[in-house]
Structures are given as structure tokens and as C-alpha cells.
Symmetry: C2
Subunit: 334 residues, 2 copies
């Protein structure tokens, strides 16, 4: 920029103004503007965003912290976030917490140091203090997919309760009565809501929830625990006639295990998966799933964040709960 000012015998100010489309606003002569623009193009000048960011106090970058970018679900969301952000002139830097609150804390700090203008957080939900800190500092952020129910934050989540409700009703309407539920240990509000959705729906159908049919696996050891859980569920005295898996990777693992146990799906046990995975429609049998609206999740979270960053002028709704929908396939025998 210095170069171009020098070579054109104009001031840095003029150059800056023109390059930021404030030429007219500041009444810089058309001639000068044209010269500057042309020179800039010829030497394909482009601003150094670090310098600009430092000066303006904005980096035009948003930080995305998720459990794992390679997870189908988050990858999809990340895709929509990026596309939407690009529309606002923003880029996104992502980081995976690997579901570890300590990592999350570090990442949030790191993002802040890097002066991201705002944060999209699929939080581990075990970091109250971090959330409080962000809130206190009025730092723009939105929770996505994960929620701190007791805190007043912006968020975009799906109706986990309602989603499982649909699944449970589906099974009940097909005559299944002994419905197992395989999920992860509480800690995540989403998981709590899913379990609740299951239990409450049973009650609505006058079926007393039986805790023996609910298997809560630990986050670390679910790959092993699911085997035992499944064996218990399909054996007397439980002998379920159907199972709801509370997340897609449990479904995959569970299905493998059911095959090993030689259980016929859906004949002996029907299954429903919360959340989709790549080829669930091609699986044998195709898996009835509760699908989350990934594009809406991603796009809304960016819209909300942008409004937050730009000082709340658009009046978008800052707390959104989206409806997931049931995709009926063959795994329930329907």
C-alpha cells in the first residue's frame, strides 16, 4: 500500500479509502480513484488482513469448536457453516475438542487470542465457567447442537425430546412394546432429552418405563460396553422387541453386534437410529432414522452469530430449536 501511494503520488489515506470503497463517501476525485484501483489491480494488491484486523479490531474470522470434525454430523454442519460464513466475508477456523472439556477450555482461549470475532460452540457441556466467562465479556458466541439449559445464551439445537418421541411412537404404533434404549451416559443435555423423550412417550402410551431396558454407556468405553448391553437386552428377562440407538455410531456398532448375535432385524428386534450416517439407506435392512436438519443448524448458527457480532440489528431469533424428522425405512418392519 505504501508502494502504491508512493508510485501514484497520493497519500496512504487516499489509497486506503478507495480500496475500501469509501472513495465516493470521502469525495476523492474519480480520476484518483480510478488510478488507484487500476494500479492495485495491475499489481494485484490485496490487503494484509492481520494488519487490517489489528487496526480495526476485527479479524473477520469465526471460530468453530466441535467434538470432532471427522464425525459425519459435525462435518456436515461445518460445511454449512463455512458456506454461510463465506457469504458474510468470513472464514472459519475449526478445532476439535475430542469431547474433552479441558481441551475445549484451551481451544476457546486460543480462539480468543487469535481474535476471532465470534465463536460457534458444540460444547462438551461441562465447561460452565467458560460459558460464564464468554457471557461476562459479552463475547459473541452461539451454542450449536449442545446446550447449557440453565444459562441464557444464543443457541441452535434440535428438539431431541420430540425426535425420540417420534421414533418411540413409530415403534409403538407398529405394535412393539418392549423397547430398549441404548445411549451414552448423561452429561449432554441432548442425551438427557432423548432419554426423556423415550420415557415420556412410553408413559403416554401407559407403559411403565423399565430401567433395565435403558443402557447408558460411557463415552470412553462404549465400544466394548455395547456388546454386553445388547446381550442383556435381547436375553430373558428383557427380550426387547426393538431398540432405539441415541446416536448414529451406536447404531452402527449395535447393528454389527446384533448380526454377530444372529438377531434378525427387524423380525426379532426393530431398530431406530437417532441421526443418520452415510449409507444408512443401503444397510441391510435400511435403517429408520431420525434425521437432523444439518443445513439449518449450520446456517442459523452463522446468522445468529453475525447478528451478534454486528450489534444485534437484524432482530433474528437468538434461540432456535429445530425439528428433526423421522425417515421411515425397513429396520422397524414398517
Amino acid at each position: 500500500m505504501k508502494d502504491i501511494a508512493k508510485n501514484l503520488n497520493v497519500s496512504k489515506t487516499a489509497v486506503s479509502l478507495v480500496l475500501n470503497n469509501k472513495g465516493n463517501e470521502n469525495k476523492i476525485s474519480q480520476d484518483t480513484q480510478k488510478r488507484i484501483l487500476e494500479y492495485a489491480k495491475k499489481h494485484n494488491y490485496a490487503a494484509n488482513s492481520l494488519a487490517r484486523g489489528l487496526s480495526r479490531g476485527k479479524s473477520e474470522t469465526i471460530g468453530l469448536i466441535i467434538p470432532e470434525i471427522s464425525d459425519d454430523h459435525y462435518a456436515k454442519i461445518a460445511g454449512h457453516i463455512e458456506r454461510k460464513a463465506k457469504g458474510y466475508g468470513y472464514v472459519v477456523v475449526y478445532a476439535s475438542s475430542n469431547r474433552d472439556p479441558k481441551n475445549e477450555t484451551k481451544l476457546i482461549q486460543s480462539m480468543i487470542n487469535r481474535q476471532v470475532d465470534g465463536l460457534i460452540l458444540a460444547s462438551t457441556q461441562q465447561n460452565s465457567e467458560d460459558i460464564d466467562m464468554l457471557l461476562e465479556n459479552n463475547y459473541p458466541f452461539v451454542l450449536v447442537d449442545r446446550l447449557y439449559p440453565e444459562k441464557e445464551t444464543n443457541y441452535v439445537v434440535v428438539d431431541n425430546f420430540g425426535g425420540v418421541q417420534k421414533a418411540t411412537e413409530h415403534l409403538l404404533n407398529l405394535g412393539r412394546r418392549k423397547i430398549g434404549f441404548i445411549t451414552l451416559k448423561p452429561g449432554l443435555e441432548a442425551m438427557r432429552q432423548r432419554l426423556l423423550g423415550y420415557q415420556e412417550t412410553l408413559k403416554q402410551f401407559n407403559i411403565k418405563p423399565n430401567n433395565a431396558l435403558v443402557k447408558e454407556l460411557s463415552n470412553e468405553d462404549y465400544k466394548v460396553q455395547i456388546k454386553e448391553a445388547l446381550e442383556e437386552l435381547v436375553r430373558f428377562p428383557n427380550s426387547v422387541d426393538s431398540i432405539i440407538f441415541s446416536t448414529h455410531y451406536l447404531t452402527s456398532l449395535g447393528l454389527r453386534e446384533l448380526r454377530r448375535l444372529n438377531i434378525k432385524v427387524p423380525h426379532e428386534v426393530a431398530i431406530v437410529s437417532f441421526d443418520e450416517r452415510g449409507a444408512f439407506d443401503l444397510v441391510d435392512p435400511p435403517i429408520t432414522s431420525i434425521k437432523q436438519p444439518g443445513s439449518e443448524i449450520g446456517e442459523l448458527s452463522v446468522d445468529i452469530l453475525m447478528d451478534e457480532i454486528q450489534g444485534n440489528k437484524s432482530g433474528v431469533d437468538k434461540t432456535r430449536m429445530l425439528e428433526p424428522f423421522l425417515i421411515v425405512r425397513k429396520s422397524c418392519g414398517a
Copy 2:
């Protein structure tokens, strides 16, 4: 930092030095160091990376440009890249080109303006000029998964030729002789190599490649074209007994179509997929696939890039071709 210098009656220099662990190096008194460190911790000071970046000329950020973050394959690679980069103290900003060279050009520029220290590129491979530009400017970058064969760049790719060779041999050894090949229109070196791998392997087995058995779909319209392609392949006079799909999403689509056509896999037609997708082991039948070493791809690309950024001191090999491996499942009847 100004604050802390003022409040402690020391110079900004001292503060900077201490905070960057150069206190001892520069012989700053232990006492001063301790005071600075404590003060910094108490007020949880953290450096502004924009300022630091501007001053040092490094952002400690790497840019990742891929066709699509939500694609299983790239999401996985992105995960490994991120993890590895974190180890080097780097974060990664990603952007999807959506397979459009124009987008890619823009993104490369944008990344450079944002002062990323280096670029990892899964290029559309139709942007020679961009590559030349990077090369000329000595900009640190590595191509990943995609290659400009005629250019001297750093890269990490898989042996596409060899991968398909394994698949083809597998089918041949199982007695299949009329092998169809469904792929995308050339443009990507990877696709060229896959096709070559197929053709050359046939020749090695003294089978004359028959162009009627090769279907090259367009990038835009493959979802429609694959139907016709498949119908032609399974009908007289082609009547293939097996099909290789050159990428995972073609496999998914193809399988759906084969079902619609009521073709029995693997009885009537065996299939092999280049590249895995989420639940391919659960599909009916489980799909024999050529699996790419995602973690190696991601990690090596970061190692190479870091060496490049830091001035080539580690002596890592800057061009790597990794071997994919065949995962034999049921879709070939083996």
C-alpha cells in the same frame, strides 16, 4: 502488555521477552520474571495473535482448501490435519472449493491475504496458474489427494493406479471377466490413474479393455447419468459380471440403482468401491473397498508443510505416494 509493563514498572521489552520464554536467554532478573509471569497469569493476559503475527510475519495458521468439508473422505483428512497441526501450535482455517476452479483461485488468494503460513490444497487440478504463482513466490504449500503431475510440487497422494489394480486383480482372480468401470470424467489425475489401473491390469491378464464397459460421468450430472450408465452395463451386449466404482459416492448411488434394477449383488454383478464410506461394512452386501490411509495422508501433509514453513531442515520426503489397501467383504462373492 502495555498495562502490565506500566503497573510493574518494567519495559514492554522485558515483558515481551519474559512472556516468550526468552527471559533467561536475555538475562532478565529472576525476580522481575516472576513478577511479570504472576501478573500476567493473574490478569490472564494472552497475546494478541494478530499483532504478533503482523510483527513477526507469521500467523501460525495453515489454510486448508478442499473440495468439500462435508465429504467423508475430506472430513477425515481434515481431522487428522487439524490434530497434527495443533501439535505444531498451528490452527487451521478451511474452505471448500466445491470443485470449482474459480472458487479455488479466490480461496487461495483469500488465504494468502489472511497471511496463512502455508497451504494444504486438495486442488481441483484445473488451476495451473495458481500453482505456478505459489511456486514462483516460494509459498509453502503441499498438494494433498490431488496432483499436478507435470509440476514439481510437494504432495501426498495415494497410489490410485495400484489401488484399482488390486481391485481389478481381486475380481479377476474370482473369475470375473467382464468388469465394468464407472468413474468421473477425466480432469483429475486421480481419476486418470484409476482408469489406467483398471485398463492395464486387464491387459496384464490378457483381456482387451472394452471401452463400452467404461462409463465416465460428468461432475455435474453424475446422479442422473449413473442410471443410464448402469442400465447399459448390465444389459446385452455388455452384461458385465462386475463393476468397479471409482469413488465412494458413485458406489452408493450405483448400489441403489442396482437394487432398483433388481440386480443381485454379488451373484449377478460383483462390485468394488474405491474409497470407503461410513457404513459400507453394514451394507447389503458389505462392500469390498479400496481404503485410503486417511490418517497418514493428513499427518504427512502437515509434516511436509511444517518443514517447508520452517525452512526445510527436517529433511522429510516432500513427495509421498501412499498405498491404499483392499478390504475384502462380500460384494464380490469372495
